[in-house]
């Protein structure tokens, strides 16, 4: 490709090793992508002062499939299954969001029955997501309290 891409100035530096008072040495840890909590999808570059996180930079792209690019080669209906894989915690709501945008683009009006079904499925998703996320955060809290 003929486009030029200058490398812009980056502030992505995990510095300094020694904190301002000159006593504590900061520890750089690359957490993930194989850490169990990130299960292979992303990494966090963290700077630790003892157990305290001083700085954190998330690094994405380990599981990037570029859904937009895939959608260029499929029909509007064909990219529907991809939309619920964007976030498996609320997959049906993602389907809904995609369907809504396509309908607005094409000027379509769905029947009232479909609207009801959508609300029901979205509510069911919400019923599942709320306990999952609260259990997840409780577990994290209990673990940290034990320590």
């Amino acid at each position: 490709m003929s486009a030029t891409l200058e490398t812009p100035a980056q502030n992505y530096e995990l510095r300094p090793k020694i904190s301002d008072d000159g006593e504590t040495e900061l520890l750089e840890v690359s957490m993930g992508p194989h850490h169990p909590s990130t299960h292979g999808v992303f990494r966090m570059d963290v700077v630790l002062d003892g157990e305290r996180v001083v700085k954190l930079k998330p690094v994405f792209g380990y599981l990037h499939r570029n859904h937009e690019k895939i959608a260029e080669g499929t029909s509007y209906l064909g990219s529907m299954p991809y939309t619920d894989r964007l976030d498996y915690f609320c997959s049906l709501t993602n389907n809904w969001a995609y369907a809504l945008s396509v309908e607005r683009l094409a000027g379509l009006q769905v029947p009232e029955r479909a609207e009801y079904i959508r609300v029901i499925t979205a509510e069911l998703t919400g019923c599942k997501t709320t306990p999952v996320s609260s259990v997840f955060s409780c577990r994290t809290w209990v673990r940290s309290a034990r320590r």
Binding site: Q10, G61, H64, G107
Partner: protein
Amino acid sequence: MAAARADQSRLTNVDTLEQIKDRITHVLPGARLEIVANESPSAQRSLLVDNEHAVAIATFLRDDAELQLDYCSNATGVDWPEAVVKTKIKKMVVTDGVEKEVEETLETLRSGYLESVYHLYSMAKKHGPVILRLRTENRVDKNHLPSLTPVWRSCEYQEREIFDLFGIVFDGHPDLRRILMWDGFADFPMRKDYVDPDDFEYEPTPHDDVLERAKSHYPPEVKA
């Protein structure tokens, strides 16, 4: 349902896009603004903003007491490659003494450019979206746009994604690096002229046309 649709087409509680444009030109007299029409049924029009005043306009939209567009929900890129644009004009032609209206098609070559699009909402006032567009001069070397991350913090990762996938360089961005593709990657996958590498579809035991493509990537001794 119909009432809900009508409500959606209304842009904000206070202003139409024309009124917003007038207010911006009132506050920032030098700003060049243009309303971009949308011919699809969604009819979501957008405001094309010039690059010099973009940050000032964005700050005005965020801080204005009536608009308070405090939330940038989405920032995305659009690639417009060089294309022949056909426009139809109606023309009066006199043939055999009779005046007739003839439709003519004009073909003009539009140079390519890249756009970044921002969807703005107001959390405080519960209205939106107001859609901003920024346009680069071309797709090759003048691919710089001002970053709106200093105005809306949520633009940071999304502008990084636009930079990564479309190759728009955002000036004033605090941390402009590739976000999804790896650092050594050279191309911009979301551009229209991007060509897939022919060995991306790796199979452990390639066959048929995948095997043919895979052979070109084998080391020489395997090929023979």
